[in-house]
Amino acid sequence: MRAPDESVDPSSDEHTELDGVVRSIGDHARTVNLTRAAGLSAALDRAAVGQLPDVARGTAAELAHQLVGSAGTFGFSGVSDLASELEHFFTAGDFEPERVAAARLQMRDMLAQLSADPDF
């Protein structure tokens, strides 16, 4: 481990280089995460009409879980928060109309945030 004063210096060469790596990988991650979000949106559409079987519900919860971990790491912390809400939504499987409506709003916010710039 580098000296403590170096490890917290965001202007160090290591952090500058890492910042470039994170942004580069993050570009790819955003594409992957948009695909995950599209999968979630499709699952939400099926849930809204009562046609989301348990296997697909589990897959949707996994997609949301992946979004939680990935999006925030690459500068989309708001997406992580929304994905966490959607993970709970799909895990619980309570698809009452008002819950589906709330999930749709979260989905819309998530897609909008993923289309904007990362927050780092």
Binding site: M1, R2, P4, S7, V8, P10, D13, E14, H15, E17, L18, D19, V21, V22, I25, G26, H28, A29, V32, E62, H65, Q66, V68, G69, S70, A71, G72, T73, F74, S77, S80, S84
Partner: protein, 130 residues
């Protein structure tokens, strides 16, 4: 510029089924920590690699297809060659959800996802006493 990892650098095995998270964690620990980092895509692969390569620590995702994090720890603890390797969970699950079970695993610690690549090495270092 970061020194290249040397043969005496600490060795960390990063295990995650998300390729991009593996990449960024590897870059973070190599560049900021100055450690040697290898990766595995699953718990099964991690168990094999740990026997072959004896890492100094393992950063382990919890929710993975096949062997999940807790099952991987159990497997590692059951092998004389790997039982004493410090293990840190890297997880998007709330630790409170599984705190009791995880305490029994003898983990070195838990780091939450999403993580900050800039501070990941420092968090690990603090948990491992490096």
């Amino acid at each position: 510029m970061t020194d290249e990892p040397t043969s005496t650098a600490r060795h960390v095995l990063v295990v995650d089924d998300d390729e991009l998270l593996r990449e960024v964690a590897k870059a973070s620990l190599e560049l900021v920590g100055g450690w040697r980092v290898t990766t595995a895509v699953s718990g099964d692969e991690a168990s094999r690699f740990a026997v072959l390569d004896s890492p100094d620590a393992i950063l382990l995702d919890v929710m993975m297809p096949g062997l999940d994090g807790p099952s991987t720890v159990t497997e590692l603890r059951g092998n004389d060659l790997t039982r004493s390797i410090p293990i840190i969970f890297l997880t998007a699950k709330s630790p409170s959800e599984d705190a009791l079970d995880w305490r029994r695993l003898g983990l070195a610690g838990v780091i939450a996802k999403p993580f900050d690549p800039m501070t990941l090495a420092a968090e690990m270092s603090a948990l491992l006493g490096w």
